[in-house]
């Protein structure tokens, strides 16, 4: 049961009414807080139950492991890193079993010339997200950023809070646990802010993402059937379609959380205005980038720098970027395989890592030669093109399919010409978003270009009308056939 399902909305309404009822009827703060958290936890497990009842057991097990792990790490004193390593390994292996076991087994069988297995292990919903959240929490406790959470309810909610369960955003303990400890109240301002963010996310998902996906699924399934111009349109629309899908979900998750009184971090910030890979990842799936930077990239870079410390000075000077680059390649590789099971995802991650390295090295070279920064429009377009080209690996089932797609892009051939209306609209919507952000930047006089958040004044009739019109328009224009959240698969 997700934002994609009609049945979710009566459920959401019940939860909101329940939370509001608790807030209004129960005067004792602590009791209200307890009931609120129980209601939210029950709802979260109800969502998991709707997918498969057995997933509840697996999820509960992860919660308990994380809870016990946090407490033991805190008490361990000097041995806390070892215990943290143990629990983190257990969680990662747990994730690995559900996500990668079948694939690895089949790959092994192929390598030794044996028939593969038909075993498919169903991964509990949201497992990639809550396992990462749990690992982050345990490492934070091990690094003594904050004490271990004593309240099992709080920890459980941090991991499985249902608005963010399926596709994030990822939360950090120091951001979300304090909110769970407070008796957060629903307020009119938060509700109005949340509902319009939800509505905008809903529009992006059902109107733009769903329609674009219909075209993209057909083209990527059989690229040789389509003309070159159609393939180029598909390739350039691939990332924008994923953006509307994922950012749409994120907006809905953040909006619902805000309506309930909780704040989740934004996950996207105009990712297509960037001019290089690292800037792209600072604006795309921000919470994952943040997680990877904090818990993988930084520790690896520090470790590699320490390893370099023993080398001769000339070597260290010549290869001063090596620790950072090596850490980046590994981090991007992990990011790739986190996204999906298959060699194509590994290649997707590695390509990002390789281009990150090129960007770092080239950036140093340009700095050394004292070159002035060039025209930004060209780098933005070049970056957009590069990211979409790499994204082909994300979309196809196998590396071979990706190569065939690239071949079809460059080898002239005849095919079905299909100028997808919705892809053109999607690309126009992207440009519109950037133009709006630029106008806002000029108005505010700020140095940074950031995404504009919806700011309808829902206390007025025009504002409320605009919101209801937007929701109604999304219902009218949206595609409600077979569709799914792309990141739900991860």
């Amino acid at each position: 049961m997700s934002f994609n399902d009609l049945g979710f909305y009566p459920f959401l309404l019940l939860i909101l009414l329940g939370l509001f009822g608790v807030q209004v009827l129960i005067k004792k703060e602590q009791t209200a807080l307890l009931i609120r958290k129980i209601l939210l936890l029950f709802s979260s497990f109800a969502v998991i139950w709707c997918y498969r009842p057995s997933f509840c057991l697996s999820t509960a097990a992860v919660i308990l492991i994380t809870y016990v792990g946090g407490r033991l790490i805190e008490r361990a004193g000097t041995g806390r890193m070892r215990i943290a390593g143990l629990f983190v390994t257990a969680l990662v292996l747990w994730l690995g079993y559900f996500k990668y076991f079948s694939f690895l087994l089949n790959t092994f069988c192929t390598l030794i010339g044996q028939p593969g297995t038909l075993i498919r292990i169903a991964a509990p919903i949201g497992i990639s997200f809550y396992i990462f959240t749990a690992v982050g929490y345990l490492l934070d406790v091990a690094w003594e950023k904050y004490p271990a959470e004593r309240n099992l309810l709080n920890l459980s909610l941090m991991l499985v809070f249902f608005p963010k369960l399926l596709c994030g955003p990822l939360v950090r303990g120091d951001e979300f646990l304090p909110q769970l400890r407070e008796n957060r109240r629903m307020s009119a301002d938060r509700f109005m802010s949340g509902i319009q963010l939800f509505a905008f996310g809903f529009f992006k998902k059902v109107v733009l993402a769903n329609h674009m996906a219909r075209f993209l699924d057909s083209v990527f399934f059989a690229p040789s059937a389509f003309s070159m111009s159609t393939l180029w349109l598909a390739m350039l629309s691939n990332m924008p379609a994923l953006y509307f899908d994922f950012s749409g979900y994120s907006d809905m998750a953040i909006g619902v959380s805000r309506m309930m009184g909780y704040d989740l971090r934004s996950n996207f910030n105009l990712p297509f205005i960037t001019t290089n890979i690292s800037d792209f990842w600072s604006r795309w799936h921000i919470t994952l980038t943040d997680w990877l930077q904090s818990y993988l990239f930084n520790p690896l870079a520090v470790r590699f720098r320490r390893m370099m410390a023993g080398k001769p000075k000339a070597f260290r000077k010549k290869y001063k970027l090596l620790p950072e680059c090596a850490a980046a390649v590994i981090t991007f590789f992990v990011s790739g395989v986190w996204h999906g099971v298959g060699f194509n995802f590994a290649i997707f991650g590695l390509l990002h890592g390789i281009f990150y390295v090129i960007q770092k090295v080239y950036g140093q070279a340009r700095k050394a030669k004292g070159k002035a920064s060039g025209l930004r429009f060209v780098p933005v377009l070049a970056s957009f093109l590069l990211i979409n080209l790499i994204q082909v690996f994300f979309r196809t089932e196998t590396p071979g399919e990706a190569v065939r797609f690239y071949q079809a892009l460059i080898v002239p051939h005849a095919g079905v010409f299909f100028p997808s209306f919705w892809c053109l609209i999607g690309l126009a919507a992207l440009c519109g978003e950037i133009i709006l952000a630029r106008m806002e930047q000029r108005k505010q006089g700020s140095a940074e270009l950031n995404a504009v958040q919806p700011r309808l004044n829902l206390r007025t009739v025009p504002g409320m009308t605009a919101l209801l019109f937007l929701i109604g328009l999304a219902l009218a224009l949206g595609y409600f056939g077979e569709s799914y959240f792309v990141y739900e698969q991860f």
Partner: protein, 348 residues
Amino acid sequence: MMGRIVKVTGKICLSGILAFLALTLFCMAYYHLPARLEDPDGVTDFRWAGHAFYSRGTEGFAAGRTNNEGYINESDYLPGDPVDVLVIGSSHMEALQVPEKESTAAILRKRLPDLAVYNVGLSNHDFLTCMRHLPAALNKYHPARFTIIETVNLIFPDYEFESILRRNETGGTERSRVYELVQKNHYLRLLYSQLESYRKSQAGAQGDNADNISDSPDAAPKNSAEAVGRFLSQLHDLAQAAGTKIIIAYHPKASINADGSLQVWSDVSTMRQFDELCHQHGIGFLDLSDRIQTEYQQRNVLPYGFINSAVGSGHFNAEGHRMFADELLRIMEEMERADSAERSEPLR
């Protein structure tokens, strides 16, 4: 406190009404279907309101007006007007997705300038529905040359073939109360349609294609030569009594395979048998499968799908109507040539 609640509720209601009006206005251009009325003559399950404006932007972009009878034709029909070619079928023949002049009936009209072509194609009129209403249609229009029955499916249980022509129904299919209520407002009708799409996707059915005809899950025998033969014999007798020739025009779904080849979803042996039986009973039969393949291989065109919907699925696009009309003309000419001893006038 009460005053505040009343004020807020009032604002929400007013905003809702304004938003609803704006959306209704939007749908007058985007999704505007005429009102559904009963067909007193029993030619079809229902009719659209006469001389009513329609527009569709959900699949293709098209707008037009119905004629006086509520069908999609360039001109009105008055009782007694001659009809030479009658086109009966589903939403493919209704052709709300393309401009009227690009529909199969319009193309036939243009290429047969001396013949009166009349189209009574309507949504949700599958082959069996068309057959149920065929006697009434022939009785009303007396098509002098041909009666074309378009269909996407010809595989039915034998008992359907045995009984269908004997039913001679004139009544329409009942629609739900909800539909009757929502059809008064274009936006609500669109929402209803969206809800149907959602339900179909949840049920795992293919919500894209016209009229969503699927094989009956019945375990009963289907399309046996005896049952189909008897049905076609009855059909031939009906046609002969009405002074017309029947053409059953079949067009299967198609989809692109991963290797770029086109898969036409047709049961080849069943259609071949149907073709032979039609030939034996003096009924024309068109199977668009080969033409779909040829056009795809030679010109890279698909007969279904629009730039604002899906690739290769859904209703006939302009190319599909053109292919269909071309093949119908070919079949009509072949039948005329085969029958030339009895006719003094050529087809065109």
